[in-house]
Amino acid sequence: MVIAGVVITTVPGKAPFVAASLAHQEGVKLVGGDGRERIAAVVQRASGEELERWAESLVAEDERVLGVFPTFVGADPA
């Protein structure tokens, strides 16, 4: 299990809408944001590769998302 803190940057003004679409995603917990173009979240995925895949698909598929920046990554082997 991999747990990462991430900042998701969006097209200015779109952060609240992106946040709404992420709110019910499995393993994603929204913890804050600037209400305009940045979202802070904690993401849990089974492995590092899955975390990367999640980040890549978010950027590729959601036009409003400009980037996903990990700020912290930890592994809980349990």
């Binding site: 900042v7 940045r38 920046f69």
Partner: protein, 749 residues
């Protein structure tokens, strides 16, 4: 109570993400000892705002001004500006020609000689034996001082400037159509236009930041159409939805044919024409809309296509896109239309398209002339520093205007001579004829930039002509011909105002002291004035003194920017005139009620063309007429000149930048592959290009961006002068030369 590893990781993750959000960055921090000085780019008429970075007394960088119209962007030339200040070719001390060589002299020695020579000529041969040739790169204050000194002090109207070579036809186009010079729209129109008509403009290379704004408009509104009219397929055509290539000089037929389509397909605005337009021919406004329609009958798309060598259906498409109801249409043009013997007519024809459709004075709909130099508008055009003008819309030949200026300048009635002076080419021809014996050349390089330059280089070398050149660089193709060279302060080394294409006046603050012994041009001119006994006319200690006088001169004219106090300019990022009071925000859309302070609130229509006595604009009936010198069996190819993005004007500044000295610096002959095959040349070979006037050898570049039977050479190379071949024939109204078209033969060397 213990915390699980997972809980710990989650809270650590959350904390770090939140921490990354916080910490709102403040304004760009200045790392120790840096100062950022607000200014404007030294190069083209786009007039990009920038900040000059100074550290340890040196300029180390520039940065685009995000609060100005250019939104922080700079083109590659502006980006590299700092290097020009410390170039090895900077002219750092005065020089006098002794025994055929220019040798170093003191300021006093140089200025004494200049004053003595001018005094001698004036006494012996009269005031018209001396002349001033200035520049659209001079600061407004400098040009103002020269204009006043020569016209009101020395009392000669021999005051000209290089905007005669680039903008005179645009000026005369605006004046004949609307009564007054200068565009009525602004750059913001780009953000609202649905159709762009770019004619005679390689915007991508000559006005890159304006091009970028058009690109952004296209990205934002994907239905935006771009029509490019240019014989060559330049980088500008990259964004064209329709590029029409045509035989050089036949664009008047195309523009008339577009009008034909607009009229016959009912794409004209009847009410607008009724309220705001009169029709004219020659110089008389004695025609009607019916006359105009009848006139246009000879310019069907088919007939125009035959003249121009393009497709009739393309002309129809261009017209329909331009004229589509509900779509905003913006035209932009520059040298392709202006540097022509029919330049004024070409300008009139563009204005016609906007006037008959009523696509003018609405955001996105405007005929917008792109100015080449950073201060052709502010300093020379608006400032009236041409031989037939007085400041701010006044004319030498107008008794009332002369009387007004005499009063404002505090000189006796009758001081100003009533006869306009010679235009630039006439002035240099007078030098050739021995009638002008002293010339003061400021901030320009006629020894490279005049058409048929060989002829005038010879004239400047006459024994009995005394040539003074105030210039920041040496050697240039003009300083090498001078009798006295005066080192001028350059760009960041002096303070003053530039006025760019969109009527935006902006202050260039001084960032560093003048290099070497150089002095700001206004100081040099005031010094000359004092030595000629005319110090009372030019008593200025600072550029602000001059500006404050200028504010009194413009008051009450259609330019009225008396609300642009120096302090306002210091705070602002440029202000668009008219600005009649200190609290007026500036005028984006001239002639428009509610936008333009000079249109009274009770005017019954949305537009008032107050520049003309009947408050209406003129649609002029202008027939197609080709260039002065078309190809013939002896000289079978078209020759044209122009620009590339890496360099500016005669290259004296851009060639000093490390990144640019090898980038497109050498002028080469751009030839179409079919012509190359016929001539038996490939890229890298050499050809000799010969016209009736001169000849030069160039390396070849084979490119399909050129047009068949057309050879293009750029103007920026001081070692391969494109102007040895160009023709000095001029437009009869504007007196602007036809740099863009003449006839040459091309031979493999």
């Amino acid at each position: 109570m213990s915390i699980t590893r997972r809980e710990f990781l989650e809270s650590a993750a959350a904390a770090s993400a939140l921490a990354a959000l916080s910490g709102v960055p403040g304004k760009a921090l200045a790392a120790g000892g840096e100062r950022w000085v607000k200014s404007v780019c030294r190069y083209c008429g786009t007039g990009c705002g920038l900040y000059i970075g100074v550290r340890d007394g040196k300029v180390f960088a520039v940065r685009g001004d995000k609060d100005n119209h250019n939104d922080g962007y700079l083109c590659l030339k502006g980006f590299l500006l700092p290097q020009i200040l410390t170039a090895p070719t900077r002219c750092l001390y005065p020089m006098i020609r002794k025994d055929g060589k220019l040798v170093r002299a003191s300021w006093d020695e140089a200025m004494s000689l200049v004053a003595a020579k001018f005094k001698e000529a004036i006494e012996k041969y009269g005031p018209d034996s001396v002349a001033f040739y200035g520049s659209g790169q001079g600061l407004t204050e400098e040009t103002y001082v020269a204009n006043k000194l020569f016209k009101a002090g020395i009392r000669t109207n021999n005051v000209e400037g290089n905007p005669r070579l680039c903008m005179a036809s645009a000026v005369a186009g605006y004046v004949t159509t609307y009564g007054k010079d200068e565009p009525m729209g602004c750059y913001e129109d780009i953000d609202h236009a649905d159709v762009f008509l770019l004619v005679g403009s390689n915007t991508a290379e000559a006005h890159p930041i304006i091009f970028q704004r058009i690109v952004r408009r296209k990205e934002k509104a994907p239905g935006t159409k771009v029509i490019v009219l240019d014989p060559r397929r330049t980088p500008t055509a990259r964004i064209a939805d329709l590029h029409i290539s045509f035989k050089p000089g036949t664009d008047l037929a195309i523009l008339n044919a577009m009008a034909y389509v607009l009229v016959t397909e009912g794409l004209f605005d009847e009410a607008f024409i009724k309220n705001h337009v009169v029709f004219g021919e020659g110089t008389e406004t004695n025609k009607s809309f019916e006359d105009y329609k009848a006139f246009l009958a000879q310019y069907t798309p088919e007939k125009a296509a035959e003249i121009a060598g393009c497709k009739a259906e393309d002309i129809v498409t261009a017209a329909r896109w331009f004229g589509e109801r509900g779509k905003a249409a913006m035209s932009m043009w520059t040298m392709g239309l202006n540097q022509r013997t029919k330049g004024v007519w070409a300008n009139n024809l563009v204005h016609n398209l906007h006037l008959i459709t009523g696509k003018i004075g609405i955001p996105g709909s405007t005929p917008f002339s792109l100015t080449g130099q950073p201060n052709a508008c502010g300093g020379v055009r608006d400032g009236g520093a041409l031989s037939h003008l007085l400041p701010y819309g006044r004319l030498i030949a107008n008794d009332k205007h002369r009387a007004e200026m005499e009063k404002l300048w505090g000189v006796p009635e009758g001081t100003l001579k009533p006869k306009p002076g010679p235009s630039t080419m006439e002035m240099f021809q007078k030098i050739e004829a021995g009638e002008i014996r002293c010339i003061y050349i400021m901030c320009t390089n006629p020894g490279q930039s005049l058409p048929n330059v060989g002829r005038y280089r010879k004239a400047l070398q006459r024994e009995d002509v005394f040539v003074v050149v105030a210039e920041a660089f040496h050697p240039t193709r003009t300083t090498e011909l001078a009798d006295v060279v005066l080192p001028a302060a350059l760009w960041a080394e002096k303070e003053g105002v530039y006025g760019c294409s969109e009527r935006r006046y902006q202050l260039l603050e001084q960032a560093i002291p003048p290099a070497g012994e150089s002095r700001p041009d206004f100081e040099i001119l005031c010094d000359l004035g004092r030595r000629l006994g005319l110090g009372h006319l030019v008593p200025f200690k600072t550029p602000t003194d001059i500006w404050n006088e200028i504010l009194t001169i413009c008051k009450g004219t259609v330019y009225d920017f008396s609300g642009m106090t120096r302090e306002r300019l210091r705070q602002a990022h440029g202000i668009l005139w008219p600005v009649p009071t200190p609290d007026h925000p500036g005028t984006k859309w001239r002639y428009v009620k509610g936008e333009d302070p000079l249109v009274p609130a009770d005017w019954p229509h949305r537009i008032k063309f107050y520049g003309r006595p009947d408050n209406k604009a003129v649609v002029w009936l202008r027939p197609h007429k080709g260039p002065e010198e078309a190809p013939d069996p002896q000289f079978p190819m078209y020759y044209t000149t122009g620009r590339v993005i890496e360099h500016w004007h005669t290259g004296t500044m851009t060639r000093t930048c490390k990144e640019l000295v090898h980038a497109n610096a050498e002028a080469v002959a751009e030839i179409h592959p079919k012509d190359a095959a016929r001539l038996g040349v490939k890229t890298g070979d050499k050809v000799r290009i010969t016209s009736r006037r001169g000849s030069e050898v160039f390396k070849v570049k084979v490119t399909d961006t050129s047009k068949e039977n057309l050879v293009f050479v750029h103007m920026h190379d001081d070692q391969h002068l494109c102007n040895l071949m160009t023709i000095d024939a001029v437009d009869p109204v504007s007196k602007q030369p036809e740099f863009k078209i003449c006839a040459v033969k091309v031979e493999k060397v």
